[in-house]
Assembly symmetry: C2
Homo-oligomer: 225 residues x 2
């Protein structure tokens, strides 16, 4: 399958490498291709600059956000949560219509430093905002409750943890579940329609607090049921 | 050990019965003893009126909030979160000084119906509010992330789930951990000082959303680590 990943940060890169390894065609979408390639630093200090990473991942394409999204039936939102709606607006509703749109982001604002603050109340979610803004997209919320490392290497946590799925379109969720399973995830939990994305999105602030308390990122939650 | 439980609702009653079964002396504290005994209904429709329950639990004492707390070295806050500070103020700081104070409540307001809303921001917790208000009490936050049934019957969830402990006093947490273990809990996680209570308190809104999605209360979270 051809997969467009919007966002060239840690999440976008890690998913791109893994999807390529599993035989998918991947295009990364970015606001400004030339600027992304010419930047000599990354937003996160632990990431190499994009051009270096790109040179080492020759099977990954790079395109503008609209071009990337146009070229694939499945689009992954790997933009920072607070910029997701803006980035998707750049793609445009027409290009997202009918597409499966995986939303991995969290409604967190890092502009005042860490820990970030959640900018939505408990009765809304970023996934719902995206679904409302792009009603013809088939939004599936998933992967928002884990580190980038845990997305692509579930065994980095010493035990099975739960991957949540929320979305209105059962067929879209099935496609996404298959894609996630390929990466080695076993405990998938389909919560229901897109409004159920509130639960995993509310879980992230808990995860952030627990990371501080435990002093490690190598943990996650299993829903025992 | 003699244990004072403040609150005669579902949590207070269930813990009282279980603690008695494990050989502890238990006194329930209530605002107005005569009123509690004369009430013919309960706040929750699934609970019998208190007098009926009390008649069936002859080993449990009943006293005013201050008298109950005065009589035991360990006090359990089983009041509704939004009334906890008020109830504890009725007990008074002097009577709580040096006591282990287990806080099981959540900062949720049910006055506008269900689901309740969390009335604190992410950078505070009810446990911290209690510790700030009663600095000489040895506050231990625990049991706030589960149903009453799960507190006293951990096997009602089909798998091991995590019980969080937060508090500034390691010895108090040790006593509480022993008490919890007696009830059959195995996966105890000491998060650290009282500020770490933010994590379990933020987990409850997630639990509430998941209950709606899963259609059952018989689930909980295990922190895989």
């Amino acid at each position: 399958m051809r997969i467009a990943i919007l966002g060239t940060g840690g999440v976008g890169r890690a998913l791109a490498s893994q999807f390529v390894e599993h035989g998918h065609e991947v295009v990364l979408g970015t606001r400004d291709v030339a600027a992304t390639l010419s930047r000599t630093t990354s937003a996160s200090s632990h990431l190499p600059c994009f051009a270096d990473w790109y040179a080492e991942n020759p099977l990954v394409d790079l395109a503008s956000l609209p071009d990337a999204a146009s070229s694939a039936p499945l689009v992954v939102n790997a933009l920072e949560g607070s910029h997701a709606l803006e980035g998707l607006a750049e793609v445009g509703a027409a290009r997202l219509a009918g597409k499966i749109l995986i939303d991995t982001a969290n409604p967190l604002d890092f502009s005042r430093g860490r820990p970030p603050f959640r900018y939505l109340d408990a009765h809304d979610s970023l996934a719902e905002q995206i679904q409302r803004s792009f009603p013809a997209a088939r939004v599936v919320k998933t992967f928002s409750t884990m580190t980038t490392e845990q997305m692509v290497n579930p065994m980095s946590v010493p035990g099975l943890f739960t991957v949540f799925l929320s979305g209105d379109d059962p067929e879209a969720k099935r496609v996404v579940a298959d894609l996630i399973s390929e990466l080695g995830h076993w405990d998938l939990l389909d919560l229901g329609d897109v409004t159920t994305a509130r639960a995993p999105e509310l879980l992230l602030p808990v995860w952030i607090q627990l990371r501080a308390a435990l002093g490690t990122s190598d943990f996650n939650f299993r829903v025992v049921r």
